[in-house]
Subunit: 299 residues, 2 copies
């Protein structure tokens, strides 16, 4: 089955201690879509400007991403630039130029409204809601978010939460949203806001999947060389949803493994600038790394 | 088989947002010994002063800890006092009074020199070395440490490292010792300093066990109520060594499970001030929590 993904489609200029890389394909929807594409057909909803490089479109097409929902609008593509510190954990945004995103209204092709798996990748919750409004009873809806929306669009985010099956956020966002330092209590509070599944990303420490009465702790794939962590969280949720869509059947039965696939996709993402490492990965390598990840917690 | 434990034996005065608790039984050897005692007979090497409360001796005896190596010296017991911040992650030392520890020379009863399992709990590496010098070919030697010794006794610590089978330290200590932010690379560097097994404690994020070519990632037991994290790291390594001593046979075969038992003991430690919660635990409860911990990573 296919997965519909909405989110930002952007050009990223990334500075890390390892080098400068201007105008790479970026945005939450791009990362998530490429990650999901290893498992399932992807339908991408987003917007790009007239300056969007043909090479970026080719990258989408290489991954057989359906672009019928990608609008080409007059103006410039959303452009983000940021800088990482030596330890790669702290990121500083240098510039955010919204461009065509300022007036973006997602419109779904009619045939996409029945798509069973929906990933609302990180983007304004009002836009995530607009996509959800156009869907016909999807089977499984997951949203990702970021601290910005808690600061400037909390009512929209809370409205969205009531309509989700799964919600993905990182540690500090979970603490900010719930005002709870303890992640177990934070997860419980988030369940009360709506979603049956709460997935808390902890970067190099892995992820926690809370399913109300059940808990799953997933390790991160241990990387020795982090080149660029941009988009790792998007790849995590993209890989997770792609694998769920490919598996079909009961989400509950597949979600734990889906989280591990997400971790694997995120690990590849970190090994190159932008999507460079991820786009070169073979499915076989993903399976190998999944086995390694499984063996890390076996005893 | 029994486990010999050397480390600090102290009185701790602990301030947390949940309350003030003066003069509790503390010290790395106390925590580690009580934790280990759930699995194996413990021989404790340490020193206390004339002010050491009888109630503390009773607590050791309740856990059948052999005190033949515990010296009673003229003067006052080592006293540490510290304060935790609201989130329980940041700790500030308010006072350290070494007392009888200033002139402590560990002396092992003759019959203890053949003890197969040796835990050099956190204490000056020169004292850890003195204990090791008195042992006859122990089967498995593990040391714990802290940042202080890297700052003021690095040559001793490096000398110790060459004589260890296993070395336990926390994330920030691993980074400090190796000047490597990436924990995988830090573990590899520590292996080169001597120990075959490197165990990096990550608090609420669990622990990593690196065995040169193999890696094991252990989750922390998810706690909703952390009352006092003092001694959790000592309980971790104490529980781990106690279980290894009880299991006997191949250390390699048992070490992963031993790390999980360590996590369980550490979790109980955090649920009360000082040793209060831990000393009340029943073996059955430990087994139940171990099963829960195992199920967290199964899928």
């Amino acid at each position: 089955m296919s997965v519909l993904i909405v989110g930002s489609t952007a050009l990223d200029s990334i500075k890390t201690p390892r080098g400068d890389h201007p105008r790479l394909l970026g945005g939450s929807a791009s990362y998530a879509s490429v990650a999901a594409s290893f498992f399932a057909p992807v339908k991408l909803v987003g917007v790009v400007g007239e300056d969007f490089p043909p090479a970026c479109l080719r990258l989408y097409r290489k991954h057989k991403i359906d672009l019928e929902g990608l609008q080409m609008a007059p103006g410039r593509t959303f452009h983000w630039s940021g800088e990482y510190e030596v330890n790669m954990n702290n990121r500083r945004t240098l510039k955010t130029e919204l461009g065509v995103f300022e007036t973006f209204t997602p419109r779904l092709p009619a045939s996409w409204r029945n798509c069973p798996y929906v990933l609302l990748a990180n983007i304004a919750p009002s836009l995530q809601l607009l996509v959800l409004d156009q869907m016909r009873r999807p089977k499984f809806v997951v949203a990702d978010t970021m601290d910005l929306w808690m600061n400037i669009a909390l009512p929209d985010l809370l409205k969205l939460l009531r309509r989700l099956d799964g919600f993905v956020l990182n540690e500090s966002e979970a603490r900010q949203l719930t005002q709870e330092h303890n992640l177990m209590r934070a997860a419980r509070k988030i369940h009360r806001l709506g979603p049956d599944y709460v997935i808390i990303k902890k970067g190099e420490h892995g992820a926690i999947l809370s399913a109300r009465q059940k808990l799953f702790v997933a390790p991160a794939y241990p990387l020795e060389n982090v080149v660029d962590p941009t988009g790792a969280g998007d790849c995590f949720v993209g890989g997770m949803m792609g694998w769920l869509a490919a598996a079909g059947g009961s989400v509950e039965a597949h979600l734990r493994r889906a989280v591990l696939y997400g971790s694997v996709l995120a690990s590849y993402c970190c090994e190159g600038f932008g999507l460079k490492a991820l786009t070169a990965v073979k499915r076989q390598a993903i399976e190998r790394r999944l086995k390694e990840l499984e063996s890390l917690t076996r005893f």
